[in-house]
């Protein structure tokens, strides 16, 4: 065996580690996030946006979006879309609420039922995509309609209404429901309030009582997914599948299995999203999750992933969700007339991606 090339090579210029770091996809999104934060610090710094409950507010929104952005990101890296995420949120919510409230199932069983059902549908979508070779855009779009329709039709069929409330009467004390609807770190926040670091209500309870589970879920899934993507065999398959599925198949990557499993993963995260919402608000409704699939895709794309597949980062997608969430909630903190909400949202998005892109180009020089 010949020796490995020497470390020093006259064909390599010195480039600072800092610049090298900025090549990573997620660090482009980071610059966008910094820009957004600076903006809101200046315009809404005194409005309570950066007080403890304000922070919890936009963090929750971002985490919720981040949850589905993570799976949408993996799927997009593998070269596919899932437009049924939003409808799946509504459907999964009904799948766990109706059995619990109307059929008298224990709540944990209803939750498991919803997860099983949702992942089966995810499997079905993936299977159709893989077997027929149809673009996932169109297949999952059909399911966007089907699932939203089923949510409306079945909830009317079983309950005669499109909103099912009162779940909290059943979920009290249920161990699995607490994993979605509860909060953690309550003691810590009490301590923070006692120390005067965060403010508290008149009765002494801290203004923020704990971290909602949705943030925990988002954080956990982000770490795990990022690790899987970058460090495991399966992650390599995801990149290969999206980069060139023909080439990947030719060298033995189980492209079909990768795709199907990722469709199941998006269904999984949609169900987590639904469960967190159901057990936080105590109700499921037919309009839950409308258009969330697009918000997820927006977050992923802001996060630097390519729509054509093969390139992207989970951390980037989470940063994209953060940008989107902060902009969305931040507007309300600035007190801008809500007629201008969308104009503002669109402009901020555009500025964030343009800035992100500008920074990236600056540090990497034009590749061509």
């Amino acid at each position: 065996m010949v020796n490995v090339a020497p470390a020093a090579d006259e064909r390599v210029r010195k480039v600072s580690a800092w610049k090298r770091m900025l090549h990573r996809p997620e660090l482009g999104a980071l610059s966008g996030a910094v820009l957004v934060f600076v903006f809101f610090f200046l315009t809404a710094g005194d409005s309570g946006m950066f007080a403890s409950d304000g922070i919890m507010n936009w963090t929750t929104v971002s985490a919720q979006l981040g949850l589905i952005a993570i799976s949408a990101c993996l799927l997009m890296i593998a070269g596919e879309f899932d437009l049924s995420i939003g409808s799946m949120i509504g459907f999964a919510g009904m799948m766990m609420t109706i059995p619990a409230v109307y059929w008298g199932w224990p709540v944990w069983l209803a939750i498991l039922f919803a997860f099983t059902g949702a992942m089966f549908i995810g499997y079905l979508i993936g299977y159709i995509v893989v077997k027929t070779g149809l673009p996932s855009f169109i297949v999952s779009l059909a399911f966007l309609f089907i699932l939203r329709g089923l949510t409306i039709a079945l909830s009317i069929l079983f309950t005669n209404r499109t909103i099912v409330s009162g779940v909290n009467n059943y979920s009290e004390g249920d161990w699995l429901a607490a994993a979605f609807g509860g909060t953690i770190g309550n003691g810590f926040f009490v301590w923070l309030a006692d120390m005067g670091i965060i403010s508290s209500y008149n009765d002494g309870t801290p203004i923020v009582t704990g971290v909602p589970m949705v943030i925990v879920w988002c954080f956990l899934l982000a770490v795990i997914s990022s690790w899987v993507l970058l460090r495991t065999k399966y992650g390599n398959w995801i990149f290969a599948t999206g980069g060139d599925s023909k080439a990947a198949r030719n060298v033995g990557v189980p492209v079909d299995k990768v795709k199907i499993s990722l469709f199941m993963f998006t269904a999984f995260t949609a169900t987590v999203y639904a469960a967190c919402q159901v057990f936080e608000f105590g109700s499921a409704s037919a309009d839950r999750g409308v258009l969330k699939e697009f918000e997820a895709i927006i977050a992923v794309v802001i996060g630097g992933a390519l729509l054509t597949g093969g390139y992207g980062s989970v951390i980037g997608a989470c940063l994209g969700a953060l940008i989107f969430g902060v902009v969305q909630m931040g507007i309300f903190f600035t007190g801008i007339d809500s007629d201008w909400f969308r104009v503002f949202l669109g402009s901020m998005l555009l500025i964030a991606v343009l800035f992100n892109n500008y920074i990236r180009k600056k540090v990497t020089e034009a590749k061509h």
């Binding site: 090339a5 460090r231 065999k233 390599n236 990149f239 080439a247 990947a248 033995g252 990557v253």
Partner: protein
């Protein structure tokens, strides 16, 4: 076990109205280098893609170790020990050198849910494999898409050699390679043959084909014109076969004309 590791009987392959292969018969032996010759568009790549499980034969049978097989996908062929370097290389441009090298055949460390892709070791193996071909990779995390044509080809070859078990198929492996790299590839082919592998080689360069091949099969416009042992044919015969078995004299005459043009210039 049969004498021949691979045997094709009357294999045809159609694409819609296009007849790419028609009634091909072919036998490949372990420890032999089998050279496929033929003009552009003769069907060589289609033939080896059929062997590699990318295309299923439209007609005819495919025997592996004397058993009839139908590969549903390239994985099955890979699992059966057939490693292929495709003419289009089957590389993913956006992925790094190392990730491309181990794509689909990742080495891991750790166990259970902590099992992970062993990047450091993979980097070493990939770099060493490339160095053996004569390419010194600056950085194993460079994206393949930004590498030169020859560098890409060397990666595809190094990968097939690393994972090749029984049969090694090389579709124009030296097309984009420099003199040094070509020599290295031929050296590696010789080594594989010595290790007892069957090698199927496609090339348009007689200087690469003749020294190393044991058997030649000639394709012309989708049909086989027969197989020949090296002992039966001379270098000039092979050259003639490569040119499609015709017009050769005319061509050499013209080529000489260039030299003359050249001399008078």
């Amino acid at each position: 076990m049969s004498e021949f590791v691979i045997e094709l009987k009357n294999v045809s392959r159609y694409f819609g109205s296009v007849i790419a292969l028609k009634d091909i018969n072919m036998k490949v032996k372990l420890g032999e280098v089998h050279c496929l010759l033929g003009d552009n568009g003769a069907g060589k790549s289609t033939l080896i893609k059929t062997l590699a499980g990318v295309h299923a034969p439209s007609e005819g049978e495919y025997y592996l170790d004397g058993e009839p097989v139908v590969f549903k996908s390239p994985v099955q062929a890979l699992d059966a020990g057939i490693a292929t370097v495709y003419q289009d290389l089957a590389l993913v441009p956006l992925m790094s050198v190392t990730r491309n090298f181990f794509m689909g055949r990742e080495i891991t460390k750790g166990r259970g849910i902590f099992q992970r892709f062993d990047i450091e070791k993979a980097n070493q193996i990939a770099q060493a494999g490339m160095a053996e071909m004569g390419i010194h990779v600056r950085d194993p995390s460079q994206a393949i898409g930004t590498m030169s044509g020859g560098e890409k080809q060397c990666l595809a070859i190094a990968r097939a050699i690393h994972f090749g078990a029984k049969v090694l198929i090389l579709d124009e492996p030296t097309a984009a390679l420099g003199v040094k790299q070509s020599a290295n590839v031929l050296k590696v082919v010789a080594k594989a043959k010595a290790r007892g592998l069957a090698v199927i080689l496609i090339t348009h360069n007689v200087h690469h084909a003749y020294p190393i091949a044991d058997r030649f099969t000639l394709l012309n416009r989708g049909q086989s014109l027969g197989s020949f042992m090296k002992s039966e044919v001379s270098r000039e015969d092979v050259l003639e076969m490569m040119a499609g078995g015709q017009e050769l004299d005319e061509l050499t005459a013209e080529l000489e004309e260039f030299s003359r043009l050249d001399a008078t210039a």
